[in-house]
């Protein structure tokens, strides 16, 4: 496998019983690149993420990370190599204060290996990362139990957990869903910063406006099949996309505002 791409998803398929969730999807992700994956509900986006991160084993196809076959590896091995993800259905540790939610990530073998055992105070590092994702440091917010935090904060907590892992690839599974407009607007620069730091990002998103602001490379799924790939303009003008995803041309124009 060529090694110029960081993450290669090659012809991956998965079916649950009679339902084909993902059907022969192929794409490549380079270092520092952002790929947006869009598609209607049930088009197999989250399943694709679960396959890449090892939670689901694909029926067919292979996944390569830095030239190494990672198909069928357990999730913790894949994360250990440098692929971090957020969950669409948020999975915080509800009983713990927000900043303690990052401790398992900071305690992971990957991070301990990368920092060579000299992390200092994990709580302090956790607090820095939380500030990075928009938790007000001097307020009580980072100390509140996760169960008392609003949904938007929990979404960003998921992002913080990814950043704590110092990953090379971050997969964001509908990070913006459930966030308020203000929260989305303040989160976009965080993702742009990660991109500029050279982290490759896969973004699954329904908010096209913000997605197109971050990336110029979009992939469209429908019924588990990749129906288009390219720049936002190319994709939005592809007839299959208009028909399958956006329904009609008028709606498409409204959505992307052109």
């Amino acid at each position: 496998m060529r090694t110029d791409s960081l993450l290669t998803v090659s012809n991956v398929s998965k079916h649950f019983g009679g339902v084909v969730a993902v059907n022969g999807v192929t794409f490549k992700l380079k270092k520092g690149e952002v790929i947006g994956i869009i598609g209607p509900n049930g088009s197999g986006k989250t399943t694709l993420v679960n396959i890449i991160t090892g939670f689901i084993r694909p029926d067919k196809g292979k996944i390569f990370f830095k030239g190494k076959d990672i198909t069928g590896c357990p999730p913790y091995t894949i994360t250990d190599m440098g692929i971090a993800r957020t969950f669409q259905m948020i999975r915080p540790f509800y009983q713990l204060p927000a900043y303690k939610n990052l401790i398992p990530s900071l305690f992971s073998p990957r991070v301990r290996r990368l920092v060579g055992g000299k992390y200092g105070d994990r709580d302090a590092v956790a607090m820095d990362i939380l500030e990075e994702v928009g938790f007000e440091r001097d307020s009580s917010v980072p100390y509140k139990d996760a169960r008392n935090l609003p949904h938007g904060y929990l979404k960003r907590l998921e992002l913080g957990r990814c950043i704590a892992l110092r990953p090379e690839v971050i997969i964001l599974d509908e990070l913006f869903s459930g966030m308020s407009i203000a929260e989305v607007t303040s989160t976009v620069p965080i993702i742009e910063k990660l991109r500029d730091e050279g982290i490759a990002i896969v973004m699954i998103e329904h908010r096209l406006l913000e997605l197109f602001q971050i990336t110029g490379h979009v992939l469209v799924l429908n019924f588990g099949r990749k129906i288009a790939e390219g720049t936002p303009e190319e994709v939005m003008n592809a007839p299959e996309v208009k028909e399958a995803y956006l329904g009609s041309e008028d709606v498409a124009k409204e959505e992307i505002g052109c």
Binding site: P74, R91, F93, Q95, I103, P104, F107, Y143
Partner: protein, 334 residues
């Protein structure tokens, strides 16, 4: 005008658990008192009891060890219905090493503790992927299986068990060993719980997928926890074998599985102090109730029901709340 109960934390806690600002000896005492209570109680007060009650406390400590070990598994999300597996394995290893091969006590107990822990972790390794009730079922079956295996194959003394095991040189060594072991296990586990390691194992219970996505091998952590819990349980077994000078099928009996769970239920799950407290209530209580003869189990059962219904959070959490919070009734107008 209605009234509402207001609860205020005593002002000693700063922001999060484990960080305290201490300004006076009174506050130090406030913190130290509950922590010193078990140490002073077990090592300084109990030795003045009658010999009979000292023996009761020693056997309580065995159950308390199993209960603390149960709590560690429970924290990790592994529900064990078979603590007797640990007890039996520990007892048989120590017994066989001593009675059949003549190993001295100072070797048999450590070997049974570490080796038994490894063995138990190894036996439960194949079912580590199971959670909740499925894992519980396997732990319930294993000790029953073992006792039938011993019965059918007549290994390890068969139904007669292993006799002629050395006892401890004297009563005080025996007594100190079990009390100190209990304190070490209790405070050691508490320390572990408070560390980042403890955060991870509690995270496995809460939300194992998130832990996996943090790049942590949850099965490796569960194995470590099984070893730790198993070693503590096996120590209790090894101690029991030398204490009773007998190791046999009763080691795999349900008593050793159910009592630790009852102790955790009465004392309060979610902390190590709860099961400890529970064990120190239930075992002596069952001794006191001996005076009632055949009705003992009835009253014992009634107590269990009332304790669990009356204080579902557990006695320890109730006491702790009263200790750490100031409660007062305040008026609220609608």
């Amino acid at each position: 005008m209605t009234k509402r109960k207001e609860r205020i934390d005593r002002g000693i806690k700063v922001r999060s658990d484990g960080i305290y600002a201490l300004n006076s000896y009174r506050e130090i005492l406030y913190l130290a008192f509950p922590r010193l209570l078990p140490v002073v109680g077990l090592l300084a007060v109990v030795p003045f009891f009658s010999l009979y009650w000292q023996e009761v406390i020693a056997s309580t400590a065995i159950y308390a060890l199993l209960a603390v070990s149960w709590e560690l598994l429970y924290m990790t999300g592994l529900i064990s219905l078979g603590q007797s597996l640990f007890y039996g394995v520990g007892a048989y290893i120590a017994g066989a090493l001593n009675a059949s091969w003549g190993f001295p006590i100072y070797l048999t107990v450590p070997i049974a503790t570490v080796g038994g822990g490894l063995l138990c972790a190894l036996m439960l390794l194949p079912v580590l992927r199971l959670r909740g009730i499925y894992f519980a079922m396997v732990t319930l079956v294993l000790p029953l299986m073992f006792s039938r295996l011993v019965e059918a194959t007549r290994i390890l003394g068969g139904t007669n068990g292993l006799t002629g095991i050395d006892s401890f040189p004297n009563h005080w060594i025996s007594f100190c060993l079990i009390q100190i072991a209990l304190l070490v296990a209790f405070f050691g586990f508490r320390r572990l719980e408070g560390s980042d390691y403890g955060l991870v194992i509690k995270g496995i219970n809460d939300n194992d997928r998130a832990i996996m996505s943090s790049g942590i091998n949850i099965y490796w952590y569960k194995t470590q926890v099984l070893f730790l819990a198993g070693a503590v349980g096996c120590f209790a077994g090894a101690y029991g074998a030398h204490h009773d000078m007998f190791a046999g099928m009763p080691g795999f009996a349900l008593d050793y599985s159910i009592l630790p769970i009852a102790a955790a239920a009465v004392g309060g799950m979610g902390s190590f102090a709860g099961p400890l407290l529970g064990a120190f209530i239930l075992v002596p209580l069952s001794e006191i109730l001996r005076a009632l003869g055949a009705l003992r189990i009835v009253f014992y059962g009634l107590f269990l029901v009332f304790a669990v219904v009356g204080l579902p959070e557990g006695l320890f959490h109730f006491i702790r709340r009263k200790y750490e919070q100031i409660e007062r009734w305040v008026e609220v107008d609608k």
